[in-house]
């Protein structure tokens, strides 16, 4: 017994995507409302149909209580949020499916709204520093073991994993570049993308190093905007405006000793250099009764380009350690590769809304309406961020 094929995604919607801070004077909650209304309209549903919210990483721009009273949701029957941060992106739709399969709710919205005008995730671990300093995390006894060394952003932390991947497996900066360049190629064909200029290998190597081995183009964008996803019962989905996209499997979590991952760096050696996704991937394939060979398009959370490579390994598209050479061989290219990755341009080049754009792209691919449409796409993999646990993933089918 599982939630396999019990629920379907029937609506997706988004605001415009903005560079960091440019969504002002809208509020995060306002953008959340706009995205939900767009997703409901896409589905042919209304606010009166919504009875659940399945969230991750404080995605509403406010608590459920404020959102529900503001939007006039008639009755909230399910409201829950995965713990952690961006790791739960794909898993929030699995949480919606779980709510529906259990009978606690029938029509559930998953949502992320983001505005980085003041706080920036790029320095989310910065110490308090001088009085009035912005962008800083609250101190904790655990952070005392990382922040004195100047580890103040996720990019610097993931750079440590990338450096060891290079050491162990011979991965090259050219391999990271291929992730960034291939996704930029996908992004520039889309009106919604914030990045519209092709990226060359020269551009890549001329860019400033931020945290060696990562340069500017290995980092995702810093954005504002909101994306919403509506999930309902498979029965109900049959009569709505869009062809249903089935939630065939979802999993979240991870090894307990992966734990806080990049902020403690004491993960067991056997999977230190990984995305943290291996146990989640195994449960995803088990629930679906499928393997990576069944996937037509992969939307892999790309806050930092090396983590796309490690997810390709952890989901079995290539052996552990071979991810760099796998992408260098052209395997993730749209149109020619064996497994097209981030056909929307991803967090690196379309927009960073903490991974919800990946769910939207997967749905459009399975409807056959994507801009960079993979021919006859039937199975899409979506992952949440390589992060502290939980990480998560989602397998959607048509």
């Amino acid at each position: 017994m599982s939630l396999k094929d019990k629920a379907a995604v029937v609506g997706v919607g988004a605001t415009q995507y903005y560079k960091r801070g440019q969504s002002v004077p809208q509020t995060p909650l306002e953008m959340a409302g706009k995205a939900m209304l767009a997703a409901l309209d896409d589905a042919g549903l209304a606010v009166d149909d919504v009875d659940g919210l399945a969230l991750y990483s404080f995605g509403l721009g406010g608590d459920t209580s404020l959102f529900a009273q503001t939007m006039g949701i008639p009755e909230v029957r399910f409201t829950a949020m995965l713990t952690g941060g961006g790791g739960g992106a794909a898993g929030s739709v699995g949480l919606a499916a779980a709510a529906i399969d259990s009978g606690m709710a029938t029509t559930v919205v998953s949502l992320m709204t983001l505005q980085q005008a003041v706080s920036r995730f790029g320095t989310s671990y910065a110490p308090r520093g001088k009085p009035g300093a912005q962008y800083s995390a609250s101190p904790s006894p655990e952070k005392d073991f990382a922040s004195p060394a100047g580890l103040m952003g996720p990019g610097q932390m993931f750079a440590v994993l990338a450096m060891r991947h290079m050491h162990l497996y011979g991965t090259q900066r050219e391999h990271f570049a291929e992730v960034a360049i291939s996704q930029r190629e996908n992004a520039i064909k889309r009106e919604t993308s914030l990045m519209q200029v092709p990226l060359t290998l020269d551009d890549y190597f001329n860019a400033r190093l931020i945290a060696e081995p990562l340069c500017l183009f290995d980092f995702c964008l810093e954005c504002d905007g909101a994306v919403a996803v509506v999930t309902t019962t498979l029965d109900r989905a049959q009569d709505l405006r869009q062809p249903p996209v089935k939630v065939t499997a979802s999993a979240h979590g991870g090894h307990g000793r992966w734990g806080q991952a990049i902020t403690w760096m004491n993960m067991p050696d056997e999977y230190f250099v990984s995305s943290g996704h291996r146990p989640v991937a195994q449960r995803l394939w088990d629930m679906a009764g499928m393997t990576e060979a069944d996937v037509d398009v992969a939307l892999l959370y790309d806050h930092f380009s090396p983590m796309v490579i490690m997810q390709l390994e952890d989901y079995g598209f290539c052996p552990i350690g071979e991810g760099g050479r796998f992408v260098a061989d052209g395997n993730i290219r749209y149109g020619t590769g064996s497994i097209p990755v981030n056909t929307h341009g991803g967090n690196l080049s379309e927009a960073y809304i903490i991974g919800m754009t990946h769910v939207k792209e997967a749905v459009e691919q399975l409807r056959g309406t994507a801009v960079n449409q993979v021919a006859d796409a039937e199975v899409a993999l979506v992952t949440g961020g390589p992060a502290s646990i939980p990480t998560s993933s989602l397998l959607l089918t048509r």
């Binding site: 910065a126 060394a149 610097q156 932390m157 450096m163 050491h167 931020i210």
Partner: protein
């Protein structure tokens, strides 16, 4: 390994500024920081099963025993991985780059790793697996943190 991009006039590794470094110890971590002020590196070990745990915490993650003994370390370490912070993420560190946050594995601890800066080294000289030795950094009157240099 890919050749790192390093400027021709490559500087020695610097350190994050002292004014950014503040500690908020709790009852479990305070012994580590008190020992550091005395220039002693200690790691807690489970009195029941002998497992080292780090950071210091309430329970042994293997047998859930709470009691620990603090085992003084030699100060030797091996470089497990690192990054070079070339770009200042905050204005407060603009004079402090490049600095090198490193993950240093301590011998004979079952793989305990510290996050600490590397000093007395240029970024291009750093190699994963290199032997390191502890250098205490007295940051404030009441705060000392470990750093490491090539042994």
């Amino acid at each position: 390994m890919t050749t790192p991009i390093t400027p021709a006039d490559e500087p020695m590794a610097k350190l994050p500024p002292a004014e950014l470094i503040h500690l908020t110890p709790d009852v479990f971590t305070v012994h580590f920081w008190d020992a550091a002020r005395e220039h002693r590196l200690v790691v807690p070990r489970c009195t029941s099963c002998g497992t080292y745990r780090f950071p210091p915490s309430a329970f042994c993650f293997v047998c859930r025993t709470q009691d620990v003994e603090y085992v003084e370390q030699s100060g030797r370490g091996t470089l497990y991985s690192y990054t070079v912070a070339w770009h200042p993420l905050l204005p407060d560190v603009s004079e402090s780059v490049p600095y090198i946050p490193a993950v240093v594995e301590l011998p004979d601890t079952g793989g305990v790793r510290l996050i600490a800066n590397l000093v007395d080294v240029r970024p291009s000289e750093v190699r994963i697996g290199m032997d390191l030795e502890l250098v205490w950094r007295d940051v404030h009157d009441d705060v000392t943190v470990p750093t490491f240099r090539p042994a």
